[in-house]
Amino acid sequence: MTPHLTRRRARVVTLLAAVALLGSIGAASVLRAADRAERRDRPHQGGPSVAGGAVTLDGGGRRMVFRNMAWGPYRDDLVSVPAGDPGGPRTAAPVRCLRFHAAAGTGVCLRKEETAVGESYLASVLDSRLRTLREFPLAGIPSRTRVSPSGRMAAWTVFVGGDSYAGGSFSTRTSILDTRTWTLTPSLEAYAIVKDGRPYHAADVNLWGVTFSDDGHFYATLATGGRTYLVRGDVAARTVTTLRPNVECPSLSPDGTRLVFKKRVPGLSPDAPWRLYALDLRTMRETPLAETRSVDDQVVWAGGNTVLYGLAGDFGDDLWSVPADGTGRPSRIAVAALNPAFV
């Protein structure tokens, strides 16, 4: 055998050996992930107890409805618990949402749908018995959703990924829907922006995190030029007006006097840049809440002076609670629970 042929054979053998080795590593990682996915469909020790049943968005006693993330057959289903016992046994309905919110008998469920061409996302508007009234295709990955206190208006925010090589830029798209007329504003960026008292145009505007005060008005976050602002939106006038800087994901108290939001606090690690703050809308004074960890969530008001938010836990996000006036201490009220709504 000539030296040339020997070298060639050696190279082919090396390649085949590498294909076998790398193929095994790849296959093992896929199998391990598949096994892990399967294990998540079985209940884990000490997890919350969940049973199938009826979940409704009105009537009966006050309840908390949320996305159940606990392992088992009801993982990712909507569940309800009595508002007074958030850690108690859960009743599950066969509705799966990535993001959820509800008020006054109207629910919004942002969900994933497998199609022939890959995954796509939809916003389903639900009635009080979780039946789908209308569906709207989404342009990206669901992030936030809110329903107005009356149940008439709904808003949702999705992330639209950049399409350049190796990813890079993300932008948000926030839509507002009137469920009485079924008028959809696909992008809030169609609203006129008033910044510091003057009309404002820029290519890099992003809006997200709507919280409704009534069916005609809302607060939200606007980002441009590397800064974020609290804006007040007017649905009829189709305007958003900046109020103050460095406010993200505001959430309005039931009496409409206070906002709790996440604030980018200077000097913190870029890995965990946010703290929860309360803003009194009459005095415009800010108060830091007692939670000292970084929170990347739009909080939900559980009462006149308590907010709930998610933090990473052992089995998906856990639900934490803290007073909205800066007093007290945070406490964990439910494990493996996301996006609570009180009905």
Partner: protein, 431 residues
């Protein structure tokens, strides 16, 4: 891989030594039009690497938002800054490759760096960390591009260079189309299995580096290139000698034309957005638009590369921009037809097929082998930076005068630049 075993066709010294070319042409089973095994091997490396990188690109937004539960806004802030840096990295990679003629070594470093980024993604759990890994990944891409294109040109003959780049770009695009399919197949088998996607992506990338190491001969080891090595020694490669390339009229003309045309080439994202705005394509179909461009690119890369060999590379390069101009025109006219998106995407893909590989094929003829990677990097970087400036300008114009007016402006600029380029690039081209 049989062809890859033959070693590189001692390509460009044929310009200096026609006797060598004839001798090679006399080898059994080889004609001057046949593609060298090294080019096919480089195409295979790109195909495999693109499967790996597009697997990650396809699932990354989902991983960040759904897997890690992060708000990725502000993620793209450094994007613009990094575009400039990656241009410099490309120049650096090209120059490094020419020094001591170590194209393969520099390409291995670039591909290797990107491969090593995949396991790092398993560790990066925060946005700044993921951003850093992506920047490193793109650094690897910047480093390898010029030496790889130089290797393609050095392993093809002046007669088949367009075809060689066509084969390479078709394989590259094929990999980019396969990657997302593989990634979503993995997520289908293993829900939320992002770690499996990243691990598999690393395995695929490592395989690409291995194919490069095993089946692409390093230029230095080939005895047929002794003449070039002598030349390289006689004239050492320095930053000054690389920059002096711009004093060659033909290099300068190509660089200026590529940059000017780049200034009027709007970004892909803008074309897709306009298609959507103009035609009201449902948002759920939006992710499919880039597939249309890639599909046309894949199908046309080889035929247009062969056409470039026959009728002239500059002509095809200019023709590609005429196709782009037609695409702009279709986006501007008020006519509505179900065929419009298909035609626009086909023209858009044809533009890439007629320019992406054809420009380095054209540039290779104007740059001596000893400075090939530096020269290709110079022209490619000018074009890339110009395109980036255009996307910034179009973004600003969009907000001030609206999307149609912004595109009309770009189309007018493109028509003027293409006309000027046709004048500047007239006359016979060096092969």
């Amino acid at each position: 891989m049989y062809l890859a075993e033959r070693g590189p066709a001692p390509a460009d010294e044929s310009e200096e030594a026609p006797a060598g070319r004839e001798a090679r042409a006399a080898q059994p089973g080889r004609t001057t039009r046949a593609i060298s095994g090294t080019v096919v091997a480089l195409g295979a490396v790109s195909l495999i690497t693109d499967v790996s990188s597009e697997m990650v690109t396809a699932v990354l937004p989902l991983y960040v938002v759904a897997g890690l539960g992060l708000s990725p806004l502000g993620f793209g802030v450094l994007d613009g800054v990094y575009n400039g840096v990656s241009g410099l990295v490309r120049l650096f990679g090209g120059h490094l490759a020419d020094r001591g003629r170590r194209h393969k070594a520099v390409a291995v470093a670039g591909y290797g760096l990107s491969a090593l980024c995949k396991p790092l993604l398993l560790l990066a759990q925060t946005l700044p960390a993921i951003g850093a890994v992506l920047a490193l990944d793109r650094t690897g891409k910047g480093i390898r591009t010029a030496p790889r294109d130089a290797l393609i040109s050095l392993n093809s003959t002046p007669e088949n260079r367009g075809r060689a780049f066509g084969v390479h770009r078709a394989m590259d695009t094929g990999g980019a189309l396969l990657g997302p399919l593989v990634a979503f197949l993995v997520l289908g088998v293993a829900a939320d299995g992002y770690d499996a996607v990243f691990t598999l992506s690393f395995c695929v990338a490592a395989l690409g580096v291995l194919v490069l190491l095993l089946f692409v001969p390093s230029g230095r080891a080939v005895p047929g290139q002794a003449a070039q090595a002598d030349e390289a020694q006689a004239e050492p490669v320095t930053v000054r000698s690389a920059l002096a390339l711009l004093r060659r009229p033909e290099v300068r003309r190509l660089a200026v034309c590529a940059t000017l045309l780049g200034l009027t080439t709007v970004s892909d994202a803008f074309v897709y957005l306009l298609l959507q705005h103009r035609l009201g394509i449902a948002e759920r179909w939006f992710p499919l638009l880039p597939l249309g461009t890639a599909g046309a690119f894949l199908l046309l890369a080889l035929p247009l590369g062969m056409l470039a060999d026959r009728v002239g590379r500059r002509r095809v390069f200019l023709g590609g921009h005429v196709a782009l101009l037609f695409a702009y025109g279709l986006l501007l006219v008020p006519a509505q037809s179900g065929w419009l998106p298909v035609v626009v995407l086909a023209l858009h893909g044809a533009f890439y097929a007629a320019t992406d590989g054809v420009l380095p094929a054209a540039a290779a003829g104007a740059v001596p082998p000893g400075l090939r990677a530096s020269g290709l990097a110079l022209i490619g970087t000018g074009q890339a930076l110009a395109r980036f400036c255009c996307s910034l300008a179009v973004g600003a114009a969009w907000t001030v005068i609206g999307d149609r007016a912004a595109l009309a402006l770009a189309a007018g600029g493109l028509a003027i630049c293409a006309g000027w380029a046709a004048y500047a690039l007239r006359g016979p081209e060096t092969r």
